[in-house]
Symmetry: C2
Subunit: 342 residues, 2 copies
DNA sequence: TTTGCCATCCAAAGCGGTTTGGAAATGATT
DNA sequence: AATCATTTCCAAACCGCTTTGGATGGCAAA
């Protein structure tokens, strides 16, 4: 059942039927109702492909998932971010198209999305320092929103980010207040922008207390259980081992926990942990009482907000770039306690 | 730059240019090369929207992610499955569109995808027992491939699944061989098909050794760290506590590990664990030496294969349904050992 | 009655490709 | 030279919708 057939059945022109269904004013209310009823009765759904060609809009948004060819790691926050964004899209009648792209093909991939007209805009994931994607998308004139920021980029662009620096500063201060002075940082890969900001926050906190940072207490790696384990094991084996850890993710923290357990130490008593909690749905930080003390910010909610921002930018292409900085909340769990006396 | 313009520049008709680019035989090789060169030079990319309307094919595949409105949990294997599938799609020039749908709207969502012509086929995720989506998709005549199976469905349909029953049977037998007789099962939600099959495998193994299953040793819940912790804690508190666990996922296993650690027990010595390992990229089971003994089957690879199967079905709509059963390998890690003497 | 203005509807021209059904040119065959 | 088959190209229809630029008729104002 297409427009033409429906129009024929109604004894109207396709024009009028189209206008009736799309709420244009130049159509009699009576006929509009008649059209609406007939559309429902015949279960008419306009063909998306035709709409897209006619309007020139894709009614779709792209998410490019870069696969690091070296590690082949899919970002674990991805699923929840997508879930949040997806809600916003389906509410607005937009589709979400995912492109899984080996990272060396990313530029070509963006250009194609643009020139083939597959999508109306793009969410940029996991920005790195001076991320080349931002000037690129700017050049080809594609609406986009970055989830995160890219230090070193001077162009104005739209982004939505968590205040990672502040979060880690607060986390570190919290531990300092408990008397810890040897605090290990188990960070993500530091060519990622968020990881740099987190380190900055950690260093800032130490600096204001006049504590010299120890490079041996700062690890940077992929955020996996294994790498968390490795980093923590190494640090705990030191003569002057840390009494606390600031950890970039729930997953790394599980590795850190394993390292601590393996040495027969007890979390919250011998060693404190404070993590950043993205509130991944399959990785809840406890139900009622949080297991870990954490800086918390829902990545799913971030997805929703970023999507809404992008839709807004697509609808108003000439508006100024938008920015939104979310603050993480500091929640107290069972993984932190006063520094043990030596 | 569109077809017409390109044709004009070449002094050819759009017809010929289109045919030259799409490899039709009725065009001189010399002109084809000329066209190809010009297309590359002018950076011509056919407009996807136009192709779709003209051919009637969407050149896209849909993945519907149901969000359980109760738990709001995104399936953690999802990201890796998608990553695998995405590779297959982009190789074939297909787009992947994701719909995030509250599970009560799922049926409507499938019908819309079909009637609006958004996609050419669908991957069905996380099938339940007698999953209603299978007859539905069958009815509306939509090509689809199920990741998993649906016990109780008599219709023939295409699927790709891991032999979950066999995997858990082998895992349980492995523990039995080590002398364990009290073996806990930490399973996923048992309205999910895979979870039922896993339990069956577990029960089969016990049965062949003449061991009566103890309901108190079988837990079924969402596969989160917390639920793993809860289930294991409860079982370990029993008078006749289990000396081994079969655990449905790496994530639950982390909860199980925490429960074991909390009681001051040692994994592999006091308590054995064997898990099912989907080889999630951010959740590797150790690097060289596996941490956990596991039944292993890459969900990413499953995604790739399921996608290829679907593309094949879309290309040959009248072929018989395809089925593929993947066997998990049993890999020995450090989390299992002989049953402790009492 | 005429004029002008709305309100309501429609024909037709897009959107940018693919595909059908020739047409012209070339070469081979008789 | 005439016929026929091939090769090579093209005009035009089509996919299903939106949107522009009228057309028509009714009614109020002049």
């Amino acid at each position: 059942m297409n427009l033409k057939e429906l129009a024929q059945k109604l004894g109207l022109s396709p024009t009028t039927v189209s206008r009736a269904l799309n709420g244009y004013p130049e159509v009699n209310e009576a006929t509009r109702e008649r059209v609406m009823a007939a559309a429902k009765r015949h279960n008419y759904r306009p063909n998306t492909r035709a709409i897209r060609l006619a309007t020139g809009r894709a009614m779709a948004v792209g998410h490019v998932i870069p696969i690091a060819t070296r590690h082949e790691i899919v970002n674990p926050v991805f699923a929840d971010f997508i879930a949040g964004a997806g809600e916003a899209y389906s509410r607005a009648g937009y589709d979400m198209v995912l492109s899984v792209v080996p990272d060396e093909d990313e530029e070509r991939s963006y250009r194609e999305l643009k020139s083939r007209g597959t999508v109306d805009g793009i969410i940029v994931h996991a920005p790195r320092l001076q991320d080349p994607r931002i000037p690129l998308l700017h050049d080809i004139g594609f609406p986009f929103v970055v989830h995160g920021r890219a230090t070193g980029t001077t162009l104005p662009y739209s982004w939505l980010d968590v205040n990672n620096r502040r979060a880690f500063q607060r986390a570190t201060e919290f531990l300092l207040d408990l008397g810890h002075t040897r605090i290990g940082l188990v960070n993500g890969l530091e060519f990622m922008d968020f990881a740099v900001r987190r380190r900055t926050g950690y260093l800032d906190a130490l600096a204001t207390r006049g504590i010299l940072p120890d490079p041996a207490l700062m690890a940077s790696d992929e955020m996996t259980e294994t790498s968390g384990f490795r980093a923590a094991s190494r640090m705990l084996a030191m003569a002057d081992a840390p009494t606390a850890f600031v950890v970039s993710s729930m997953i790394s923290a599980m590795g850190v926990r394993r390292a601590i357990d393996d040495r027969g130490l007890k979390i919250g008593r011998d060693v404190s942990i404070i993590i950043h909690d993205d509130e991944l749905s399959y990785m809840r930080n406890g139900d009622d009482v949080p297991i870990y003390t954490a800086t918390r910010s829902s990545v799913r909610d971030a997805g929703r907000q970023a999507a809404e921002m992008l839709l807004d930018i697509i609808a108003n292409p000439d508006s100024a770039p938008q920015q939104r900085l979310l603050e993480a909340e500091l929640i107290i769990g069972q993984s932190t306690g006063p520094a043990p006396k030596r």
